[in-house]
């Protein structure tokens, strides 16, 4: 016979007995035997033929989740222990946090109307719901915290950052609340919403030539920093605090929210999201396909960058990308409009590229779960004509301006 120990919490179901006997060659048979003789116990312990979620079962001091679950073999003389399984967790949204503490823990929503079939599910992490409306809030607070902790940033110093816009706006918020001044270097053809937002948040704006794209902004910022000691350049492209923010934040949040992730899709900008969240997801789901959405070579990228254009951010290790898919402006805008039309999500241009790639990967996989990161919301692109113009007119209209 098999000895089954009953915890105090379940004794009411077995007339107060501390242990009962049962028979069977596997745990499944033992539990079925118990269910037959003690129906009330069966209702607590079994659910759809498996161990109920609020119960842990040990066989001879081993948790059966580390053995073969209900198929774990048992034999005469074995001891089965039934135990309460306790789980819980903190409120994810609470009042009383400061604005900086409220960064992250963004919603992860399913996009059922954009999935190619019912067998493959696409989820989107809505980073536009961070305080300044983009994923860069996570990075900005991590960069400043790391610099403060390392003693590299002291009162009176001034932050300087080349930025495609979102990082600047996030840094402007963090700098304001922590009491630093900030100068942002950005290409002169940035959207007016971004420039205005930077100025409203209190940043000093310096323009670099629009024709040189993001790389031109980096070069000008390096020149300025080299010429003046008071500037501290946190440089999100080369700062490990950037991927770390996504390892601890973006990636961990996704890993906790889903039981399985088969593919992870994010835009290729600094590489921070893909490296950090990709690494964290690989720890939980070793077979996950870490996939970059990359703009076509030559496109003037805003937020995303084409590696073929020559600059590889130091934090980006291309060998850690399982897939890299190129996306045109037109494909991005088409997906961006679909996202708004079908799912009601108003996102930024790079999210269009990411959703385009997520749908392609989902179609290739045929089944499973695909997670994509929507880096920002659409508000900063409202001045763009592409929301409403005919798709065939989109590409020429985007060539002379930086939208991503």
């Amino acid at each position: 016979m098999i000895r089954v120990r009953i915890p105090p919490t379940l004794r009411a179901e077995v007339a107060g007995a501390r242990e009962v006997e049962a028979s069977g060659a596997t745990l499944r048979e033992v539990l079925a035997d118990l269910e037959e003789r003690f129906p009330a116990l069966g209702r607590q312990v079994l659910e759809d033929g498996d161990i109920a979620p609020f119960v842990n079962v040990y066989v001879n001091s081993e948790d059966v989740r580390t053995l073969e679950g209900v198929e774990t073999p048992v034999s005469d003389g074995s001891t089965v222990i039934l135990l309460p399984a306790m789980a819980g967790g903190e409120h994810e949204l609470v009042a009383g946090r400061t604005l900086l503490e409220s960064i992250g823990r963004t919603p992860l929503v399913e996009l059922p109307r954009l999935a190619p079939s019912a067998e493959v599910r696409i989820f989107a992490k809505l980073e536009g719901q961070n305080p300044t409306g983009s994923i860069k809030d996570r990075v900005a607070v991590a960069l400043v915290d790391a610099a403060e902790a390392a003693g590299e940033l002291e009162p009176g110093q001034e932050l300087l950052e080349p930025t495609s816009g979102n990082t600047g706006i996030s840094l402007a918020l963090v700098a304001k609340l922590k009491g630093y001044r900030l100068t942002c270097v950005l290409p002169e053809n940035a959207t007016p919403e971004r420039v205005k937002l930077l100025e409203l948040y209190g940043a000093n704006v310096v323009f670099s030539p629009g024709s040189e794209g993001s790389n031109g902004a980096v070069r000008l910022a390096q020149r300025l920093a080299g010429a003046d000691d008071r500037y501290v350049m946190l440089n999100q492209y080369a700062n490990d605090a950037n991927p770390l923010a996504h390892y601890d934040g973006t990636g961990a949040e996704i890993a906790e929210a889903l039981p399985q992730v088969d593919a992870f899709v994010a835009g290729l900008g600094t590489g921070g999201t893909l490296m950090g969240a990709g690494e964290r997801l690989r720890e939980s789901f070793p077979d996950v396909l870490v996939t970059a959405a990359e703009p076509l070579q030559g496109d003037l990228v805003y937020g995303l960058r084409s590696l073929a254009d020559g600059y590889v951010p130091p934090i980006l290790d291309v060998s850690k990308l399982d897939r890299k898919l190129l996306v045109s402006n037109e494909e991005s805008v088409r997906a961006l409009r679909l996202l708004l039309d079908r799912e009601g999500i108003f996102a930024g241009v790079s999210s269009g590229a990411v959703v385009h790639v997520a749908r392609r990967i989902a179609a290739e996989l045929g089944e499973g779960m695909v997670v994509c990161v929507l880096a920002d919301a659409g508000w900063k692109y409202l001045s763009a004509p592409f929301w409403t113009q005919p798709l065939q007119d989109v590409e020429p209209g985007m060539e002379d301006k930086l939208w991503w």
Binding site: G88, G89, E90
Partner: protein
């Protein structure tokens, strides 16, 4: 329920040690007074979730005259059961449930039954 300073210190130490993740364990009470804290392992290793793992024998301390309280820490929210806590109460319905809000040091006791949360006052002496 009485949680004397000595036991309370153990709870805070464990919560501090597990930071930034939630800590969890079992408090053994006799006649409503906490005598000791048994550290558990948070199998979720997460700032927002806990999954309690302890030596199975700990759950049978009640056969030695103890009453058990399930304990876990919150990192930044008040020491009130979250929706996740209530949904996962399972077999611990109507039993002592203790939460420490690490950022404020506030310790609070509860009973959760039928989806409802009832306070269970916690005193130091």
């Amino acid at each position: 329920m009485v949680i004397p300073a000595g036991v309370r210190d153990r709870l805070v130490e464990h919560a501090e040690a597990e930071k930034p993740n939630e800590a969890c364990g079992l408090i053994a009470l006799r006649d409503g007074v906490a005598e000791r804290y048994i550290r558990g392992e948070n199998e979720s290793a997460s700032p927002y979730r806990f999954e309690l793992k302890v030596d199975p024998e700990t759950w049978f301390l009640e056969d030695e005259g103890y009453e058990l309280a399930v304990f876990h820490s919150h990192l930044s929210s008040p020491p009130r059961p979250s929706r996740t806590d209530v949904e996962n109460i399972g077999l611990w319905e109507d039993r002592p449930y203790v939460i420490l809000a690490l950022h404020t040091g506030e310790l609070a006791g509860w009973r959760i039954a039928g989806g409802k949360i009832e306070p269970l006052p916690v005193d130091a002496t």
